[in-house]
């Protein structure tokens, strides 16, 4: 047993920020991460982070209220407006703090943080460091965690939460380097494990973005909120779905179809390529579906050539390298073949503005959480912002909770029982290997990623979704029959990937069930059989509760207050 007052699961931006905040408030906070924290998926974010700093010459009258309006409108009015207001207000001091901590943002000539235009934003308010903003912010937060002396348990895979008498008491984790399971006892736990992109076969996400952290909370009785809202980024590389930042269009890049036409004029005549991601992805998909993909195939072009080599090298060097290495295309010379790709989970663990879940002692922050500030469609530049704003708030709230506890170090017996349960799970998986009917986890994984990609994509319709849901229910049955082939103690990927899979399938089922039930189109959830938004019936959050037979759906009201819902046009 290892004890820390606060256990943070996940070492990306949200987890690091939570741990640093708690540590600064005098709490003994530690991070457990499947990878060295600087390798987390936050580092793949490219284009930037939104804050109404009003540094850009064209944004002198920008304000947090305008940032809030753009965010709420972008969310198709599903975001909770009090949470959005909090985030956009916090954005300004939090970004200055990132800068004070050393984050190497790009600069304007006057020495202030540079800002660029981004989709769905009324002003150029996206602060950036070239096209590697996530990498720079992530390394800065790792550095702050080192400075603050936050202990980091690197390459520990957290496999289950310990909840005793309805209160969270810690986690069970697998020590990848030495082998074996350990109970990490804590007074509170912050889950900050990122999104569930890898439930899809066409994701921009890191391979570790499985959604398993969401599943752990789900199994502990916490509802998962708005899972059906899955963002498809307009510009993933054709072959690999690797992200080509929205900043490429912010810097002036064009989207072009087989006719050589900048087709966005048909869909968002005012803002063209800088429409929000849901609208841009649908526009691209429509061009492809109607036969105007390049050569009639399933992709269009992102054309940067007119920007010139110098601008590409200065503002978009990372994009250029990725296009060269992974697609064999130099954007200075040729247009980049791109395709809408799964990118972000708007939904996640249901929390309040301080990361609290319904389980005392259990918090969540970042992409795995759903506050909700993104509603039905997240604006580019708001995800990096969410990680640091709500990571900080969750860390502070957990610290306050720990400070108010009457008794500490509870739940030791439950922790030891959870370790035994984890060991038993692996033994049972291993015992099934080679027996008749034993299932191959990777066949199930492929079944899931294919089903989610093909049945719950950019455009959705009841018949196709029903078929997908049936397939997912079948896969869930098969998960219970998996046989584990490799039983070694050290760095056992077979075991980790098998344990993860069960959680991935359950989260994917939540996406599927929520999508089929919601008979409207809102933000990223676009149904050809219900093409309009229906505020009378559906201006509400979906809550999925775990049951052994699949998700049980419930709903709760959206917090309005600042902006009345109106038709969304760009």
């Amino acid at each position: 047993m290892i004890y820390h007052e606060l256990i943070v699961v996940g070492g990306g931006l949200a987890g690091l920020r939570a741990a640093v905040e708690a540590k600064r408030q005098g709490v003994d906070a530690a991070i457990l991460s499947q990878v060295w924290p600087g390798r987390s998926h936050s580092g793949a974010a490219q284009g930037g982070v939104n804050a109404a700093l009003a540094n850009h010459p064209e944004s002198a009258d920008d304000s947090w209220e305008k940032h809030a309006f753009d965010t709420v409108k972008g969310s198709d009015y599903l975001a909770d407006q009090d949470a959005v207001a909090q985030m956009t207000k916090d954005a300004i001091p939090v970004i200055y703090e990132m800068e004070h901590d050393g984050c190497p943002f790009s600069r304007f000539d006057d020495g202030r943080i540079a800002q660029r235009p981004f989709g769905g934003a009324g002003y150029p308010r996206t602060c950036y460091g070239a096209d590697k903003t996530g990498h720079y912010m992530l390394h800065t937060m790792v550095e702050e965690a080192v400075k603050a002396g936050v202990p980091m348990y690197v390459e520990w895979f957290v496999s289950r939460l310990v909840v005793d008498d309805g209160v969270c008491r810690g986690v069970v984790a697998y020590d990848m380097v030495k082998g074996g399971y350990e109970f990490f006892q804590g007074e509170a736990v912050v889950i900050a494990t990122g999104g569930a992109g890898r439930t899809y076969g066409n994701s921009t996400n890191a391979i570790i973005s499985t959604g398993y952290g969401m599943a752990m909370a789900y199994y502990a009785g916490v509802p998962l909120k708005d899972l059906e809202f899955v963002q498809f980024h307009p510009t993933g590389l054709l072959t690999t779905n690797i992200l080509m930042t929205e900043g490429a269009r912010g810097e002036g890049g064009y989207l072009v179809n087989d006719l050589g036409e900048r087709f966005m004029h048909k869909y968002a005549p005012t803002v063209m390529e800088l429409a929000p991601r849901d609208i841009t992805s649908r526009s691209i998909q429509t061009e492809i579906n109607e036969g105007r993909g390049i050569g009639g195939k399933g992709y269009v072009h992102l054309d940067l050539r007119h920007l010139g080599g110098q601008k590409i090298l200065e503002a978009l060097p990372g994009i250029r390298d990725l296009a060269i290495h992974f697609e064999g295309v130099d954007p200075i010379e040729e247009p980049i073949p791109i395709v809408p790709s799964q990118h972000y989970s708007m939904g996640g663990i249901d929390t309040d503005m301080d990361g609290r879940t319904i389980v005392p002692g259990l918090y969540a922050a970042g992409e795995c959480a759903c506050v909700s500030v993104h509603g039905a469609n997240r604006l580019g530049g708001n995800s990096l912002l969410e990680t640091v704003v709500f990571g900080r708030r969750a860390g502070a709230a957990a610290a306050a909770y720990i400070g108010g506890l009457p008794a500490k170090k509870q739940g030791a017996a439950a922790g030891e029982a959870a370790v035994r349960a984890a060991l038993t799970q692996v033994e049972e998986l291993a015992a099934r290997a080679g027996t008749p009917g034993a299932e191959d986890p990777y066949a199930i994984r492929t079944g899931m990623t294919t089903t989610m990609k093909e049945h719950f994509g950019v455009f959705r319709v009841a018949s196709v979704m029903q078929e997908g849901l049936d397939t997912m229910m079948d896969l869930k049955q098969r998960v219970s029959m998996i046989g584990l082939r490799h039983t070694g103690g050290v760095f056992n990927l077979d075991m980790i990937r098998t344990v993860e899979l069960e959680g991935m399938v359950d989260v994917a089922l939540g996406i599927a069930a929520g999508a089929l039930r919601r008979t409207e189109s809102r933000g990223s959830h676009s149904r050809t059989d219900f093409p309009t938004r229906d505020d009378d019936q559906w201006l509400k959050h979906t809550l999925a509760f775990h049951t052994p037979d699949g998700p049980r759906l419930d709903y709760k009201a959206v917090t309005l207050g600042m902006f009345e819902p109106q038709e969304r046009k760009y």
Binding site: G38, S40, G102, E144, V146, A206, L243, L493
Partner: protein, 245 residues
């Protein structure tokens, strides 16, 4: 169906004494279906999923930004995710862990010392003067000095490739020193004498003999040697003239 042959170095610390004792598993060969977009990392996943579930390797972003999958592929330091099989020419693809590093299992090497040295150089911005309400101003020219070192992904290739690290286990190595350089050239940093003693010593910059293996090994095409030479200059100026920058 076209195929690619992988030849992978194996190591398992749990192998018992009668199976070789030292955990060395030699090389295993695997055949993977080939397509023109196949990367080495995808090949490793194919093997782990279909041919040998015991294979261990590090992975995360698969887009050359996280630094997890640095390996020694056909005798060259490479990120497995960024290495397309079709660029590796004819013959089997030999995949080994980064050399000169202690091993955890198969292609996973022990990075404990590497990160301990990174933490030792105080890899964070230090300030003494008052923090402004908005940002610390920094001109584009000042910011440009950071372009090279901030792109480091701490993959460990430079560290593994450096003969000075092989010969002197205490040497901080190119990655940690590049990180020190990143802060020393930052116009906002005021560490003055605080960070300097951590690299101005026999564990630090003077162990660099400008062999430049690190420059060749770096998958991000960075130049740690250049940063280390700058640090040497800064340390000497500090000793002779009492000022660092």
């Amino acid at each position: 169906m076209p195929e690619a042959k992988f030849r992978i170095k194996r190591y398992d610390p749990e192998r018992s004494a009668d199976q070789n004792g030292d955990g060395d598993g030699g090389y295993d060969e695997f055949v993977v279906p080939y397509e023109s977009s196949l990367t080495v990392l995808e090949g490793l996943f194919y093997i782990q999923e279909n041919l040998d579930g015991s294979l261990s390797f590090r992975y995360c972003c698969r887009a050359a930004v996280c630094g997890s999958c640095s390996m020694y592929i056909n005798g060259t330091y490479r990120l497995a995710c960024q290495t397309n099989v079709r660029h590796l020419g004819e013959g089997p693809i030999t995949v080994e862990p980064m050399p000169h590093m202690p091993l955890v299992k198969d292609l996973v090497c022990d990075m404990t010392d590497f990160f301990a040295k990174y933490e030792l150089i105080q890899p964070y911005l230090m300030r003494n003067s008052q923090t402004p309400e908005t940002e610390f101003p920094q001109s584009p020219a000042e910011r440009k000095k950071l372009d090279m070192p901030i792109d480091c992904i701490l993959c460990g290739s430079c560290y593994s490739s450096c003969p000075s690290v092989w010969g002197e286990g205490n040497y901080l190595g190119p990655a940690a020193l590049l990180k020190a350089y990143r802060f020393e050239v930052d116009s906002r940093d005021e560490a003055k004498k605080t960070r300097l003693p951590h690299f101005d010593n026999e564990r630090g910059t003077y162990r660099c003999h400008t062999i430049t293996n690190c420059v060749e090994a770096c998958p991000k095409e960075l130049n740690p040697t250049e940063g280390i030479q700058w640090l040497k200059g800064a340390a000497v100026r500090r000793r002779l003239l009492g000022r660092a920058k």
